[in-house]
């Protein structure tokens, strides 16, 4: 365990930023987002929920795959070579760090997604323990301890000290970059385990898959859904993407970008659509997070960050689905 006085944090950040691209939670208008370090940025280490999640840096909203030059019907392809420099994100909370595990389980499983892997290898996650949950937090329901976040380095911030604990080799390397600013210590930060939120997650057993899928109240639960993608795009674990083309006038850039299962054209094919109603699309999102993903990965697809709770303009959220979903013979 190492520590640094809170007042020296600006020095720590400046020193880090000199050697690696450093992203920090900073105030941007009315929201806090991870932003590249700059000396006059308004760094915010109290807001738990950045509007953007760390997902942005590993599975960016838009990512070029390759360029196809078409000349007189002849195609030549060159893979995108977006340079990825090593970077570190400071201030990642426990939920968001856990969310990366969810993304890893998809993108680093066979076949591995090289784009994701490259970014994942380049990025160092410096987590920051939470002290107190906000009104929308429910990570503990998913077994996440907000005071013990994982990540390459874990940090705890008290009134006057930041504790620093490297957990991985990558974390060690980053620590070395600023070793002169950190002091070894035997102290350990006080860890208030905030109260555990309990949600009836038992019923989301993959064995119940069809019973859950056929639950009678999906329609009722989804009635207010306006089919925007706010919940999916603020979600640190949502992972669906679209592949599409941009014609630059001289070549075609094929890129992937986030997509949302809540959009009506997500599964639209030339000759039909297996999910024609919003209720079906709504169901897909929650079934995927709570049943399908766990069935394949032994982890829930939700980390309880609560961003979707705040983002939904219609007041819908996963907590309600967890609580209210009526499984025949189960609730």
């Amino acid at each position: 365990m190492m520590k640094i006085a809170k007042e020296h944090l600006p020095r720590l950040f400046a020193a880090l930023a000199k050697q690696i691209d450093l992203l920090l939670p900073a105030q941007q208008a009315e929201v806090v987002n991870f932003a590249p370090f700059c000396p006059d940025a308004e760094i915010d280490l109290t807001t738990l929920k950045t509007a953007n999640t760390p997902k942005h840096f590993f599975l960016p909203q838009v990512e070029d795959l390759y360029t196809a030059a078409v000349n007189a019907g002849q195609i030549s392809i060159s893979a995108a070579d977006t340079p990825i420099k090593p970077f570190a994100i400071f201030g990642v909370r426990a939920c968001d760090a856990a969310a990366l595990d969810v993304l890893d389980s998809v993108y680093l499983s066979d076949p591995i997604d090289q784009f994701y892997q490259t970014r994942r290898q380049a990025g160092c996650i410096i987590t920051l323990a939470c002290e107190k949950p906000t009104a929308s937090c429910f990570c503990t329901a998913f077994g996440i301890n907000p005071t013990e976040p994982c990540g390459d380095i874990t940090t705890w911030l008290t009134d006057d000290v930041l504790y620093w604990q490297p957990n991985t080799e990558k974390g060690d390397k980053i620590t070395e970059l600023v070793a002169d600013l950190l002091q070894l210590t035997d102290e350990s930060p006080a860890q208030d385990i905030s109260e555990n939120i309990c949600l009836p997650l038992d019923k989301f057993n993959p064995d119940n898959l069809l019973a859950l899928f056929n639950a009678p109240n999906w329609q009722d639960l989804s009635v207010a859904c306006i089919a925007c993608g706010a919940c999916t795009f603020v979600c640190p674990t949502c992972q669906c993407y679209d592949i599409t083309d941009f014609d630059t006038g001289t070549s075609i850039t094929r890129y992937r970008c986030w997509d949302s299962c809540l959009y009506s054209d997500f599964t639209q094919m030339a000759h039909g659509n297996p999910r024609t109603t919003q209720a079906e699309r709504f169901r897909q999102r929650f079934m995927h997070k709570l049943v399908y993903h766990p069935a394949n990965n032994d982890q829930y697809g939700c980390v309880g960050c609560g961003r979707c709770v705040a983002a939904c303009p219609a007041g819908l959220n996963i907590v309600k689905v967890i609580k209210k979903l009526e499984v025949a013979g189960n609730v």
């Binding site: 893979a79 066979d110 669906c240 993407y241 592949i243 639209q268 399908y292």
Partner: protein, 278 residues
């Protein structure tokens, strides 16, 4: 061993070397790489992503047999932006191709040594053709082969020439063809595939493979079960919208399965465990 997905998302350039008009709206394209080789090896049932940059990309089942080491064939029905565009392409045009994607028909497992019944409707014969040709090229590994194929009209029968000239004359093979409604120049059977299936009265001792439009698959499955087939004797394929082909983009997700990776081939008893969203 992990195969990097970048290889799978980034295609090779393919050249159309031959085009055959199968029906008024189906063409079969023969595709090789720019060096003239087959783009990759595959097994029956697998698919590939074909694309014209700037137009779109879509998954197509490979209609040629793995035993063909020179080229791949795709039978494509014009029914959307990309497919319409493909139909306008001439020999020598470039497309992009990546794959293979998806699982395979159990040619080397469940099917091996068994009598086989192939049932297809319309363009659904394309993936089945790969399996049929694979069987013919490894004839001794399989028992009796029945092929039941139907289409809306005689004009809509794909590979008609090949079926009549080649398949029908294969040893230990019966071919049954039907079209939905009678028409002037047709002397063969008329009626829907499930009904014809029931009329013929196949013994339920074979392995069956059914491909075609969803409604045809559903009706044929019913007929197969009525005839005494068990669900674990019957295989079919699903078709959903796909983008990545490697089980990441989430589009073809049904239950815990990604059709592009875990499918498109499913044994019918496996389908029962999946939500009815296909």
């Amino acid at each position: 061993m992990c195969k990097p997905s970048t290889d799978l998302l980034i295609p090779q350039v393919g050249i159309i070397t031959h085009i055959r008009q199968e029906t008024p709206d189906v063409k079969t394209f023969r595709i090789v790489t720019t060096s003239g080789a087959k783009a990759f090896s595959h097994m029956p049932g697998q698919c590939a992503m074909l694309s014209v940059p700037g137009i779109g990309e879509a998954m197509f089942s490979i209609a040629s047999s793995p035993t063909n080491t020179e080229f791949m064939e795709f039978s494509i029905k014009a029914c959307g932006t990309l497919t319409d565009h493909l139909h306008r392409l001439a020999i020598g045009s470039h497309v992009t191709i990546r794959g293979p994607y998806g699982n395979i028909f159990p040619m080397e497992d469940a099917f091996k040594g068994r009598d086989l019944l192939f049932i297809a409707g319309g363009i659904g014969l394309a993936p089945v053709r790969s399996a049929i040709k694979y069987v013919f090229d490894n004839r001794t590994n399989y028992g009796h082969v029945d092929i039941l194929y139907g289409a809306r009209s005689a004009d809509d029968l794909v590979y008609r020439h090949e079926i009549e000239e080649n398949w029908a004359s294969q040893p230990n093979t019966n071919v049954y063809i039907t079209i939905d409604r009678p028409q002037d120049d047709w002397s063969g059977h008329t009626g829907f595939v499930p009904a014809y299936f029931a009329d013929i009265g196949f013994a339920p001792d074979k392995m069956a493979l059914v491909c075609g439009p969803p409604i045809m698959i559903k009706r044929t499955l019913d007929a197969l079960l009525t005839a005494g087939f068990k669900k674990d004797q019957v295989y079919t394929t699903l078709e959903l919208r796909m983008k990545c082909g490697i089980g990441k983009c989430g589009r073809c997700n049904i239950g815990p399965k990604y059709v592009c990776k875990d499918g498109p081939v499913f044994r019918c008893d496996e389908l029962d465990a999946l939500p009815d969203e296909y």
